[in-house]
């Protein structure tokens, strides 16, 4: 059940009606949201509901064990045990096939005849996200950053809440669990939520879907058929597509959570305007980058143990961030590129700081960062490492051919996506203010009209969100 579908609209109407009927009964509302979230998840594959429930049980029991023990060694052992269960599940579902395939290829190279069985494991939707939720909760309880959750219903909702269940944002336990202890003090921001949902719909249905079908998919499917200009514009197109796709999901998740009375953290903040790679990661998939920083980079030592170890920690963190996205050498290459880039940037910081004083310096910094990120997207998007290498080779040499795939329509969408990175910071507030002046029925009518327009502008059918597969 994808967000931009009539099926989801029907589902959300039922949830909204039940939330309105339950009025002040907060515990009943939480129970309703748990049932709705499991129903939502079961639409893909009901069997994986048991996996989600097991993951929740591990987090719940692990938290109680950690909080119930005063012996530091036992606490650490409980934490390690529960985190190991989470990571084993993630490792099995996400990496079993990759490890088997790589081991068999290695055995073949070494001339060994024995092969490991290949079982084609089905990846449960959102497993990375609920695993990260579980690990975040356990670590926060261990560190004392969040009170242990003693109500099973709260843990069930924290792990399964439908707006973020399958593609984030990753919501920290210390951020979400306190919201479950008492009804929201802040009332529902209707206009802001509607605008986030409508903006997300437009980005996904119109910009991301057309860029994928008109430019990115055909060019990346066979880069040898295209010349340098098409290849370059297809990378720009993918940069805009993945931003519009993923930030759309996050915006809609934030808007829907707000409509049922909960707050989510921001996940994107105009990332392609970043002047540093480090700044890019403060603006892109913020919930993942801060998760990696707090639960991986800092425990590794962060920047506290000298320059070389800082570079090592950056590289290790980004490599693991790359592997988190999927099993494959291309994701390792993507992670290594970003880790290496962050380390080099840190080493050059004094020089870069001086260069960024002028307007030209800042503009060139933006261009360099954007193109570096685009270089990473080639590995990220290509079918595999070999296709990425071919793509880069053609990009370097194939400039005699003209434009075939990058026609005016996709180019206009790319320009739109890049221009959106520079929208003034108070634009959203002004739009909320304008919409909020209308009565509720006016806001609803306008939203219906906007959805109908987006539906007419977009291509037939809706492709799944890119981050569903992670």
């Amino acid at each position: 059940m994808l967000f931009p579908t009539l099926g989801f609209l029907a589902f959300f109407l039922v949830v909204a009606a039940a939330m309105a009927a339950l009025e002040q009964r907060f515990e009943a509302k939480k129970a309703l949201l748990v049932v709705a979230s499991y129903f939502f998840y079961a639409q893909w594959n009901w069997r994986f509901c048991f996996l989600l429930a097991f993951s929740t049980a591990v987090s719940y029991a692990g938290g109680l064990c950690i909080a119930g023990s005063r012996d530091p060694r036992r606490r650490r052992a409980f934490l390690a045990g529960a985190v190991a269960i989470h990571l084993s599940l993630l490792g099995f579902f996400k990496y079993f096939d990759f490890i088997t395939l790589s081991a068999n290829q290695l055995a073949h190279l070494l001339g060994l005849e024995h092969e490991l069985p290949f079982i084609e494991v089905l990846l449960p939707l959102g497993i990375s996200f609920f695993t990260f939720h579980g690990i975040s909760y356990l670590t926060d309880v261990y560190r004392g950053d969040v009170a242990v959750c003693r109500r099973p219903i709260d843990m069930l909702l924290y792990m399964s809440f439908f707006p973020q269940l399958v593609a984030g944002p990753i919501v920290r336990a210390s951020y979400f669990l306190p919201q479950l202890r008492a009804p929201a003090v802040q009332p529902i921001p209707l206009a802001a939520s509607l605008l986030l949902i409508l903006g997300g719909l437009f980005k996904k249905v119109v910009v991301a879907n057309y860029l994928a079908t008109q430019l990115v998919d055909p060019v990346f499917a066979d880069p040898t058929n295209y010349g340098g200009p098409d290849l370059l514009l297809a990378v720009y197109g993918y940069a805009v597509q993945i931003y519009c796709d993923f930030s759309a999901y996050s915006d809609m998740a934030i808007g829907m959570a707000a409509l049922v009375g909960f707050r989510f953290p921001p996940n994107f903040a105009q990332p392609y305007r970043a002047e540093r790679l480090r700044e890019f990661w403060q603006r892109w998939h913020i919930s993942l980058s801060t998760w990696l920083r707090d639960y991986l980079y800092k425990p590794l030592g962060g920047n506290r143990r000298g320059r070389l170890k800082t570079y090592r920690n950056l590289l290790v963190t980004m490599l693991l961030g790359g592997i988190w996205h999927g099993a494959g050498w291309k994701f390792l290459a993507w992670g290594a590129l970003h880790g290496g880039g962050l380390a080099v940037e840190r080493a050059l910081e004094p020089w870069l700081g001086r260069a960024a004083q002028s307007a030209w310096g800042r503009l060139s910094s933006r261009l360099v960062v954007f193109h570096f990120v685009c270089l990473g997207w080639i590995f990220f998007r290509a079918e595999d490492f070999t296709v990425a290498s071919i793509y880069l080779g053609r990009l370097a040499t194939g400039w005699s051919a003209g434009l075939q795939a990058a026609q005016p329509f996709p180019v206009l969408l790319i320009l739109f996506g890049l221009a959106a990175q520079f929208i003034p910071k108070d634009f959203f507030e002004r739009a909320v203010d304008a919409l909020g002046r209308l009565p509720v029925w006016g806001q609803g009518s306008l939203a219906g009209l906007a959805v109908a327009t987006i539906n007419a502008l977009g291509p037939a059918g809706v492709a799944p969100f890119i981050y569903f597969r992670f």
């Binding site: 802001a192 921001p266 801060t290 502008l457």
Partner: protein, 106 residues
């Protein structure tokens, strides 16, 4: 001075713990009933203007005792909105997008 000038123009990256909807953007608040009302009205407007998609959606529903009724209702609703001319804006918009999609560089 440079830093201050830059601070006022450039939106800074959000910090951990920040809300996806900033306090300044929360606007006027609504109750769950008002949220339901807005959603219902929005869905009604959508069903008037985009009724052409309803039969396809209903056709994909899993079989149940209710499904034939829903499919027939979706079909009748689509016919009714088309008769009233409500499908025309969406059809024109789709045609315009299709034309623009096929523009090529001179």
């Amino acid at each position: 001075m440079v830093a201050l000038g830059r601070e006022s123009r450039e939106p800074a990256p959000p910090t951990v713990g920040a809300d996806g909807i900033r306090a300044a953007a929360r606007g006027r608040s609504a109750s769950p009933r008002q949220v339901l009302l807005a959603c219902l009205i929005g869905a009604f407007v959508l069903s008037l203007l985009a009724a052409a998609d309803l039969p396809t959606w209903a056709g994909r529903l899993a079989d149940s005792p209710m499904t034939p009724l829903l499919r027939a209702a979706a079909y009748r609703w689509e016919k009714a909105t088309t008769r009233l001319g409500l499908a025309a804006p969406q059809t024109s918009l789709r045609r315009a997008v299709r034309r623009f999609k096929h523009y090529e560089w001179p």
